[in-house]
Amino acid sequence: MNPLNDPTRRRLLTAGATLGGLATLGLAGCAATPSGPSIGRVVVVGGGYGGATAARYLKMWGGNVDVTLVERNTSFVSCPISNLVLGGHKQMADITRGYDGLKALGVKVVQGDVTAIDAAGKKVRLASGTELPYDRLVLSPGIDFMLEQVGGLQAALDSGRVAHSWKAGPQTVALRRQLEAMPDGGVYALSIPLAPYRCPPGPYERACMVASYFKQFKPRSKVLVLDANPDVTSKGPLFKKAWNDHYKGIVEYRGNAVLKEVSGTTAKLEFEDVRADVLNVVPPQRAADLAVKAGVVNMNNRWVGVNWMTLESTAVPGIHVLGDSTMSAPAMPKSGHMANQQAKVAAAAIIQLLKGEAVNATPVVMNTCYSFVTARDVVHVASVHQYDAADRTFKTVPGSGGVSAAANQIEGRYALSWADNIWADMLAA
């Protein structure tokens, strides 16, 4: 039962909100907050592609929704484009954006860590002790790692000897420094986990970007791709062509290379030990700790099951989960673009639910992933996913979607424009 459908409760909420509105009338001129009673309180946890977009669209479409965005970092650092920082083609400042645009829209941005979620009492507790009550909660917490699957990996990451760089920020800087410090003639090894993982083409783009750096500055060096998957999981022929055309003698690819253990910068596979000068491990992944804390991880003990019309958890009512933490629909990638799309479906649904109205029964999401194979040449993969009411999931449209015919520089410009547009879309800046 949705308590907001109860007319008595709706009137009480409205009355309370009106009083609150009157008390803050003196501030009305400062923010872009429309006048009138609030239709409800939404707390969004996680200010990445999913969460920031949800906050922005809840405000833009919902008008008088109280939106609070909780994010542990002071600014947003994008995973997409971060491989260009590793290649030396972009700087950290190029992939870092602030939350001022959302603040100007009237989103309350709170920097903090969520320590507990009380789904029954409908409130979120922060490490600071602050409690945030909500009518609807949105979690967009991303991924965390299953470090127990690789011996020695936790210690290697903790010591800083090995970087994952699969969450952009200090990890991106750390790996770039290791690459810069590596002598010419060295070996950079990149371990890729079995799918599913965040950003399917990301590791192969990373191999290209590190190789482009080596080609120019350390031409005797090697990029060794140790892929747990039997073959390249995304845009395979396009990446292999790029390795052959641009990085012959630099990139070496090995499939079925499951990482068992890390010792120093040596990657221990099932039948051999691979010595590297720089070891970069993308660890196996699951829904983030916050999703575990919220009790919403109910698929394969690893991902969050959601109702795709609303992104509401199938385990805990009132909690909507976006992005990489979700159990993906068939052929749906874990990407920032997809998290942004899911956030819009969720924002629209949450507004209708707060108003006691029917949600959109025919949502659509689509995905575009651009990957750089050189500093300027790019390849894409795209897909469109329509909601299938009978099977209650998103399905790709037959005949739609696909990959680039060949790597090209036009899409190199589009890829950077994609970043500008999606960052502006999510951060209102």
Partner: protein, 105 residues
């Protein structure tokens, strides 16, 4: 349950007065569909950089472009693949939504 039933005749009367009649759910549907384009074409079609702005374009031009992408008449890097994912009715809704947007300078 009583209130919605009482509201219904009033809502119907309002819908009948409006010309052309557009249901609120269609307005939201057009808005929601158009939002799937924003990642590249900007929020409400106000694109940055090398992407094509869609805000304020004539609806029939948008429909014609999408049909040309679908048929292959207009060469593209990616839009021929994306256009095929949307129904004609969805494209009509999206086009109407962008046509109604004010382009930002």
């Amino acid at each position: 349950m009583i209130r919605p039933l009482r509201m219904a005749p009033a809502a119907l009367a309002l819908a009948a007065l409006a010309a052309p009649p557009v249901l609120a759910q269609d307005v939201n549907l057009a808005r929601n569909l158009a939002a799937t384009c924003a990642n590249c074409h900007g929020t409400n079609g106000n694109a940055r950089g090398d992407m094509k702005p869609l805000a304020g374009l004539q609806a029939d031009k948008i429909v014609a472009m999408m049909n040309d992408f679908k048929s292959g008449a207009m060469p593209a890097t990616i839009m021929h693949q994306i256009a095929k994912g949307y129904t004609d009715e969805q494209i009509r809704l999206v086009a109407g939504y962008f046509a109604a947007q004010q382009p930002k300078k």
